[in-house]
Symmetry: C2
Subunit: 249 residues, 2 copies
């Protein structure tokens, strides 16, 4: 099992084979055994298989091909709607229209998402996370018809792999762990942490294609720019407000 | 492996046995193979084993016994500090002082946390999440000496189980999944979703002890009250501001 975790690779090319209802059900049952705050299960999972819906999702997931190609897209949402409705039907007054409750529900949704991924990989399926989910949350609310108190926090594509990529590099474990308290990074620590990543052949290639001097510049100038981050931040904050999670202000 | 996920139970009583460095290392290596946004790995894991530090953590984790009893506490942090320092050493201007970047880093930290839990359970260890991490984030920042751009998002205790609890109930899968788009819940859907939970013997016992009429009231009046949620929401927002993640305002 640890072996399965060690072999994790994101899959971006999928066969056209469908996933059977039985298999999907088995994966979701296992996934939803994940820990959740106070066992409240304040999340929902939206299963998209319809071509029309997937076309719309693809459009808002920055037109990444795998969204159309993979047979299933799962969108994991922070969801206090169901819990609030239960409270109201049971003479209880819910107090979950605030930022802490959004974070609590987002944590629930993310732990379940990772459990689903591990279950899927154990069954020979491939997965890839869609970071675009939070960037374009307002679009997914419309496409998936999400009511108040429901916010999409991540999504994955799911299917039978049609590629066998190598393992992705990771920072040395030493660089991401701290003993007892946080030891801030010296200049040498940073050089050491990123040495392997900066030495990879694909890094040299990326620098050449992008005509940039450092790998860090590819992140700041091409992939995750300040301009985009600020626009997405404001959009996501508006989503939290609109979905009812900022009422303590 | 799916079996291991199906057997997940949170463990709240631990033996005094230590976890060997080799085992902890193996679990962390497997854990850190989880997907992360753009492979940026914008998280850090703080390993607490020292009795003095654990005593302080215990105090802020609402004095839950397991925090002192378990040999290891792992605090998972959203961390853009390391990445920002790398950018600055590489002639790149980081634009990650915003809410979207906090959420991105929190997602990274949470997926790694769940991977670590699954690896730990596969090795015969028990785990329990500490939801108190986000409630008291400001305290953990002080105890663990977390610099700007580092925010604790969850923590777990880790050790050899000294109890064998039964499986925890879950809502029927039908109640947490939606096909294609979100189908909002009718009164009957809600009754059906919570029927099993409300029928459990421990629910009857809880109602008697708390002198309340419904299980939902135990959540709203005892466990997760509006008053606490608002206080923790404001505190967590202040933490995000102080740690540098709200600079788009």
């Amino acid at each position: 099992m640890i072996n399965s975790l060690l072999q994790h690779k994101s899959i971006r090319k999928y066969k056209s084979d469908k996933i059977s209802d039985e298999l999907l059900n088995e994966i979701l049952i296992a996934g939803t055994k994940a820990s959740t705050t106070g066992n409240m299960q304040v999340y929902s999972i939206i299963i998209s298989r319809d071509e029309n819906i997937k076309e719309k999702l693809w459009e808002s997931h920055f037109k990444q091909n795998m969204v159309k190609q993979a047979p299933v897209v799962l969108t994991f949402c922070a969801d206090f709607n169901r819990f609030n409705k239960w409270c109201e039907q049971r003479k209880a007054v819910p107090g979950y229209d605030n930022f802490l409750s959004f974070i609590t529900a987002a944590i629930d949704a993310l732990l379940v998402a990772q459990n689903v991924c591990i279950a899927a990989e154990a069954k020979g399926l491939g997965i890839c996370y869609l970071g675009t989910t939070t960037y374009m949350a307002d679009k997914f609310i419309n496409i998936l018809n999400l009511p108040k108190f429901v916010v999409p926090v991540t999504a994955i594509v799911l299917g039978y792999p049609d590629e066998a990529p190598g393992l992705t590099d990771r920072l040395p474990l030493d660089s991401v762990i701290h003993f007892e308290t946080y030891k801030d990074y010296s200049k040498e620590d940073i050089d050491k942490a990123y040495f392997e990543k900066e030495s990879l052949p694909q890094t040299a290639e990326l620098l050449k294609i992008n005509e940039l001097e450092t790998l860090a510049q590819i992140f700041t100038e091409k992939r995750y720019t300040k301009k985009d981050n600020i626009a997405f931040s404001n959009s996501l904050m508006n989503v939290l407000e609109k979905q009812g999670f900022l009422n303590h202000k």
